[in-house]
Symmetry: none
Subunit: 219 residues, 4 copies
């Protein structure tokens, strides 16, 4: 039977999780889902986050449907503005969030133990496949990673955390290279934030917008 | 105070959501987070999902930390394999998930009322900004969108649902253009799935891997 | 014996079913049948349905005697208004229902897995007999079927469902080509509806009269 | 809301009847519906019946899903074989049932108090609309109706019943004008029957295939 086949193939964990969703959150928020479907989404925040399975923004910020517009790529990078006629996944999402959804806040959210950042710090990293897509993608950090790679004073973990945070500031700079973002930010119609999530302790560190330092808001 | 500044600027909704996370899920799963930090992530599934605020995979599949490696871009597209030396956000995430994390299942997950798909169906769509990033990105669907754009027989909603599903099949074809994916799939070490989430009704439709049809596993 | 002959020839299943009817529904509704015989029928709704054995309107709508005036032809088609002096089975039934019985609602009711629609989508369909009556009859859908026949993006099942629904809208347009119908509809003395029945799941999808979309009223 | 609109417009009686169907027959026969959807229909009998709301074949023969392939037109007429390239609703259904579904029994089922037959007996009948579709359709009976119209010996009710039965025999003759039917009947692969249902008493009268008389099988 056609239906049996498809059901048997689809991962059991996802199907059982979906059943919990339907009996739980969806049952509780049915009206909200209907309204969001009819009226369209109006998320308050765009989050640029990492693909990492331990740092989902909806989980860390306990967010419900309709709240967060979320781009996720390896190491939560924002590439620089490049109107070169090529397709740019992240830039397209930024443009859509800012120009079409008119979101008011953008958060670049990094996290500890990021595999992409590790790769960027490894001078001898071999391509994962002949296409070397991770190598190219993390190459976006080459200008800032090179200095740390050569540092003998920082421990491995310190280098890692340092680049995780440097990378957030770097992505925020790149965000501002998009005219549609920098103009709105100057007009105070859009705010840009940085955040770093410590997977182990659960701590959220927020970037100070003046100094670029990461601090814990509850400390 | 520096700390106040950062705290005052960071969106209140995110901070209060984070407090709920810490008192709820994190408190309950503290050990799991620690283990995941120490041992590294071992997600069972890669999900290519949309940025849409109403269709977060962790929510729909009720997934906990460590389970899903998630790429999110506008309209959950997978571009074709293009080892051209440029950076490719989605391809980098695929490569990392398959080659480094050795995930066993990939799900391309679309959803109803997708704004990116709407844009792809609008023949008169104007660039959202001079960079026209959405236009370029949704241009990945141009070959399949053109036929539907010209259809006067389908309603607007029918065209939308049709392209949302066609696009999932198209992305799955593109997935298979990556040698590292198609080889593992042939060796039965990797399985590829499609899913479509109806925001309004909460229904999950799963793609039949033989026919490409979307069916509800519980029907 | 003459009587034996006729009894022996007539299908057993029908005779035994008729006995159940007499002992069941007829025994329960004897007075209603008498009244309906004496006073004449006053059905509230005309249904244009398919001949398909799995989609009888009285079954799907759990209707009793006297409620539904039912036209059934292959694929529940309404031909366009053609006062050409030829005999037109469906047009005669429409005229009788609207002008003589003064019904107030018309439902064009399609269904999934319709064999007539399959035939309309098969570009290489050979005549079933030299008269090619199915070919001619389904030719009423030629203008709308051609576009779908050429689609390589939709699966076979998707093309089928699409044409089943397009055909309902097409028949509703044809209904409105009858002056006696369009005038009454404008005067709000007659309402026209579309419905699509999923044989497999039992779901009834109702046409939204504004958009033409099919939705489930209980969702 | 779109969904509300469509639901409010669709006749309440049908929606509540559909709910009874889903909770009753569909719930009881879910597997049968699924099998019928997957495997396709295999009805044992084609019934040519009248649109009349008091004479639904599924009701009179207490038939379940998948049993009866049903054509319904005004006065249950079968037109003569006319391979003229025009569309013929009833002939298309016959062809489909016999050639594609390979049904083994055909029943032409008339009934008492038939409005179409009344119209055929009324020499002064005015067109119901300028198209005069009922006039044209019942004109198929003109050759047999004329004699009864002029009879002053039969009462009105006798003329009505007489034509109802004559018409069944006439339709059976027309059935046999279709080569695909007469050939199969000669090969004993197909049987043709007549039946007449008395709405008032619930009696079923079956046609004797040798004499053409209508008799009650249980008498």
């Amino acid at each position: 039977m056609t239906q049996k086949d498809a059901t048997q193939t689809f991962p059991d964990k996802l199907l059982s999780g979906y059943q919990r969703f339907m009996q739980g959150r969806y049952a509780d928020e049915r009206d909200r889902y209907r309204d969001l479907a009819e009226a369209g989404q109006k998320p308050h925040t765009l989050i640029v986050a990492c693909c990492d399975s331990r740092a989902a923004p909806e989980t860390v910020f306990n967010s419900g449907p309709g709240e967060l517009f979320v781009v996720r790529n390896v190491a939560n990078l924002v590439p620089p503005y490049a109107p070169d006629g090529e397709y740019h996944s992240t830039s397209a999402a930024l443009e859509f969030a800012v120009q079409s959804l008119r979101i008011r806040d953008i958060v670049v959210m990094g996290h500890g133990r990021c595999g992409g950042i590790s790769a960027a710090l490894d001078p001898g990293l071999k391509p994962l496949s002949p296409g070397d897509f991770i190598g190219r993608w993390m190459g976006l950090l080459k200008p800032v990673a090179a200095e740390l790679q050569n540092s003998s004073l920082l421990t491995t973990a310190e280098r890692q955390t340092a680049l995780e945070r440097i990378s957030i500031r770097h992505s925020i700079e790149n965000l501002r290279s998009f005219p549609c973002i920098s103009i709105l930010e100057e007009q105070k119609k859009l705010r840009i934030h940085g955040a770093w999530f410590d997977i182990s302790t659960g701590e959220l560190w927020v970037m100070d917008w003046k100094t670029g330092d990461f601090i814990r808001p509850d400390h």
